[in-house]
Symmetry: D2
Amino acid sequence: MTYSVAVSGASGYAGGEILRLLADHPDFEVRTVTAHSNAGQPLVAVQPHLRAYTHLTLQETTPEVLSGHDVVFLALPHGASGAVAAALPDDTLVIDCGADHRLESSTDWARFYGADHHGAWTYGVPELPRLSGTQRDRLAKTRRIAAPGCNASTVALSLAPGIRAGVIEEHDLVSVLAVGPSGAGKSLKAHLLGAEILGSANPYAVGGVHRHIPEIQQALRWAGADRPTISFTPVIVPMSRGILATSTARLVPGTDAAAVRRAWEDAYAGEPFVQLLPEGQFPKTADVVGANTALLGLAVDEQAGRVVVIAAVDNLVKGTAGAAVQSANIALGLTETTGLPVNGVAP
Amino acid sequence: MTYSVAVSGASGYAGGEILRLLADHPDFEVRTVTAHSNAGQPLVAVQPHLRAYTHLTLQETTPEVLSGHDVVFLALPHGASGAVAAALPDDTLVIDCGADHRLESSTDWARFYGADHHGAWTYGVPELPRLSGTQRDRLAKTRRIAAPGCNASTVALSLAPGIRAGVIEEHDLVSVLAVGPSGAGKSLKAHLLGAEILGSANPYAVGGVHRHIPEIQQALRWAGADRPTISFTPVIVPMSRGILATSTARLVPGTDAAAVRRAWEDAYAGEPFVQLLPEGQFPKTADVVGANTALLGLAVDEQAGRVVVIAAVDNLVKGTAGAAVQSANIALGLTETTGLPVNGVAP
Amino acid sequence: MTYSVAVSGASGYAGGEILRLLADHPDFEVRTVTAHSNAGQPLVAVQPHLRAYTHLTLQETTPEVLSGHDVVFLALPHGASGAVAAALPDDTLVIDCGADHRLESSTDWARFYGADHHGAWTYGVPELPRLSGTQRDRLAKTRRIAAPGCNASTVALSLAPGIRAGVIEEHDLVSVLAVGPSGAGKSLKAHLLGAEILGSANPYAVGGVHRHIPEIQQALRWAGADRPTISFTPVIVPMSRGILATSTARLVPGTDAAAVRRAWEDAYAGEPFVQLLPEGQFPKTADVVGANTALLGLAVDEQAGRVVVIAAVDNLVKGTAGAAVQSANIALGLTETTGLPVNGVAP
Amino acid sequence: MTYSVAVSGASGYAGGEILRLLADHPDFEVRTVTAHSNAGQPLVAVQPHLRAYTHLTLQETTPEVLSGHDVVFLALPHGASGAVAAALPDDTLVIDCGADHRLESSTDWARFYGADHHGAWTYGVPELPRLSGTQRDRLAKTRRIAAPGCNASTVALSLAPGIRAGVIEEHDLVSVLAVGPSGAGKSLKAHLLGAEILGSANPYAVGGVHRHIPEIQQALRWAGADRPTISFTPVIVPMSRGILATSTARLVPGTDAAAVRRAWEDAYAGEPFVQLLPEGQFPKTADVVGANTALLGLAVDEQAGRVVVIAAVDNLVKGTAGAAVQSANIALGLTETTGLPVNGVAP
């Protein structure tokens, strides 16, 4: 069967990327696209790269417009999806690409987002190792999916195998990310202007205040950590897309390098979209641009006593829209890889 | 008086930057420029941005050509400066921008560079805190200066104040750097091609093998560390110049945040070229492009138990050529800031 | 049926892009990939973004290795494809992505390339208007296809409709192109280094010496020009892919603006991959990155007496590999659009 | 003597660049900086690269604040400088970096800008050839200077020598420019966001509507043109600064190539900041980043019947702030080159 689909927030970067992926998906048909300030315009006037959708016009984002579809993707600003989602039928598959339904802990929510916790939906990173099985198992049985934060899922995929296998310590994790500005969305802020971004590397949310920190910790708890701590610093660099996450963790004393590598190999054996590169190889973000692929490279630095995991992800695909479509595939019982590119667009 | 100057390696990036700075230096006159494959060409044919030097022609790099100058800057490939330097008179001020004379430890040298250790010259980062005084004191009395590795000096300046003040632990330091490809020089390697660099973040020398690691450790020992360990990962990002180093260190238990900040404030009080930004502010590399300025931002992440220091440096200026000129100023008894830009070229 | 495919030059940019496109093509199966210096390595070691091909190893480029396939793509340096092609059976479909078989005129060849003209194959730009029909008609009946030069086809598609409709003059055409460095291939040349490309715009082949000029003129002659003249200047800008061609032509006196627009509308009506944007809209290269789409915008500048056509093309897709696959589809009688993306990867 | 200086619009890109240049100017002392929304903040909080100005605080932009200085630079949005300027004393040297006082023709003004023409001030491009002498002559006798539009002055410098020497035709000029987004100022517009700018080339104001067209025509009339016509297309490319202008003009029939080159050589002989490169050499924008230098390359394309002039300029320096300071030097009788960098910051 063909599932009818509505995409809200279709004028933004995440919404646009969902549409790009769905254009090649044989089981989904996008019938409705909605936006806020651009409602009334042809989709292609706002997203001129989406040539397959010249027939669609942006509508207002209301429950009425979104209702009546089998699948609804929400790519709305933080705080906007709760009310919309509440008005949709229970049997509609709803995937929220915003942060509203990612955190289980009300305390975490209150600390990093403030009021109005809406509760957690099933987290949309299928490959995440959990104490038992993977996150995939839960996605198979849900109609409410929270697509991940792009930075959070990249770091969680980087570190969770080591946590689950008991080869790295959960304390004192350190992640530094080179990220493209599309992760910040189409926001009109001075520090996101092209003239500011070009030729510069610019850190933000330094010192433990980034909202993806509790999301990472939550994923690591699922893998067996008790109270993981992480120093997390994103740095905006001049590439439109991409996350290159360098994550390091202290080796559990006495662990040998082979056991470390085996932890990641075992966690992602057979995974189509999360791949560990051979010893001595490390990914760059160009390898995964446009693809739903997360590439990992791993080294053990004996002198520093740390394992270093490099992860390359396209923030808009595996980090957001690809994770959403992959999770939707699972929830609907489709082949998980349907419609999802595995090759990057490089150079 | 005016000092006569020769610059070898004048066709490369470091050599070009030395020339750019010297063009505005009232006490230096560049009389001779040398190169290897480009010898015989007008300098401006190879370095078309150096319009002030239309009168100079590149000569061969030989001791004969370099002799007879008051000051000689060597910007040669690793391994090439030892022989040249040995043939220069003792009273000539020689500044080596290569790695050959940076490391005091023959063991470190053998491990990271291999054979033929040439011994260490005075390290050219004046502001580096040492157990007693700063590195500046040594530079005032030397005729042989080793300009720093750009990544090494950036990380050393980031962490040394905390080591000297005893507020951070010397073990388990972690630094991740976003760096521009000019740091790799004008090398014809496939991964340095524009099509590869653009739109991508690419790590290299992952897992404890980068040659700047012993150089960082050496500087930290000068600040009081015994056997510092550091996980160090550079990531090439698409900006021609610049280093954005994110360095983190465990807080010494019981240290309060104010004492941490004070350690860096004290270390760099009054320094013209190394400046700590106010609480809550962090630098970006665009702030320092073209300038001999290192900007630092500092945060204490209580939950992670780590201090985070962000440093922005132009790898070719404060990281190399500016450090060389600044050190030469000191060695010659000139005003330290002469000829050195403090403002960045932004945006 | 499934056609067996060999791709030579698989370690380069054009070869890599052919492989990326073929991975999503239902009728082609890539069995053999060849290279020169990288022969013996896994394809994915050289092209790490092509995750779908982890099973392939690069072989030597010889007629023996390439023989026995239904379709052979040649992505070799200029001058290398003639000999290889001559050794392949006549009924093998051979698509040459190099320049060797593009020009019909031996005089043009001698002037721009030198000796050893190999004769012309069917030119692989299906939408090109000819005095009668389009280039598509010829592609349906060939087993030898010359994929176009990326700059040449972009300019030809921009100007040919006006020539055929008689609304622009064939003399005194002017085209200036902003192009990404991937168009120059994976060549180890100093001016293609990332540090040189970043933050700079750099013209080359200025003043009528670029090899794509006779190729443009040839295409315009097919559209009805007699002896077209064009001032053609490419400028390398810091984007890995893409061509933004600004082409202008004198209006034939007395032509009204509506007739001008109609010439382009008529030429590309119904074309899936060459689209004229509505009045007042102009494309940017990000709209077509990764896509086989050429987007055109058109304005009539009455005061200057010129029509201005802006064209955005991905040099590696519609400019090379996409044109090759599209032409192969036609030659084999497949649906022309099979396996070819129409949506760009943006932002 | 030292001239006291006020800079309005100090929080923008043009204002920031004026301040960067003045920091190295021995005869000027910046006493006052003003802004609009950022008034009350330390200058360095908004312009963190201007480390030499940590002592200055942004004030409101009012005639009262600006009065009492010897020199006032206005770097305000279009339309804002007329009223401010009218309130300043006649003997204050006022340099307007906005467009308000650039055009002599009220008709041109009305057509491209609309109402409220404020009349023309002395145009601040000293090297522009005029029928008699250069623009420099007029600058020596003025207290009101209109700094040029960056694109306009780049094209005018490219073509005016050929007009004055009578070697190119004034009709049917064509200029296409690759420009960095800083030329658009710090405007919060979606198409100027980093994610949009990166990896893309984006034309704007296509088809004869750009406001710099009448400014170019005015400069060409000064060089002897009667009614020059020009097709002018700017393309935003991913570099923060820089203009690479490709300008072509029809050769006057019978003109030989040597006479063409001589026209430009003669026009700029001895000019410190406008330099014609030798035959066969062409500039790139990196050669002039941060410098007040305009580099030109010239080729005669016999087959196309056109001369091609490539010009590289830093839009913020020679295109705006450097032109302003250079013109101010002339107006005050200072050495024209004082405080102005001639070397670019490259790579």
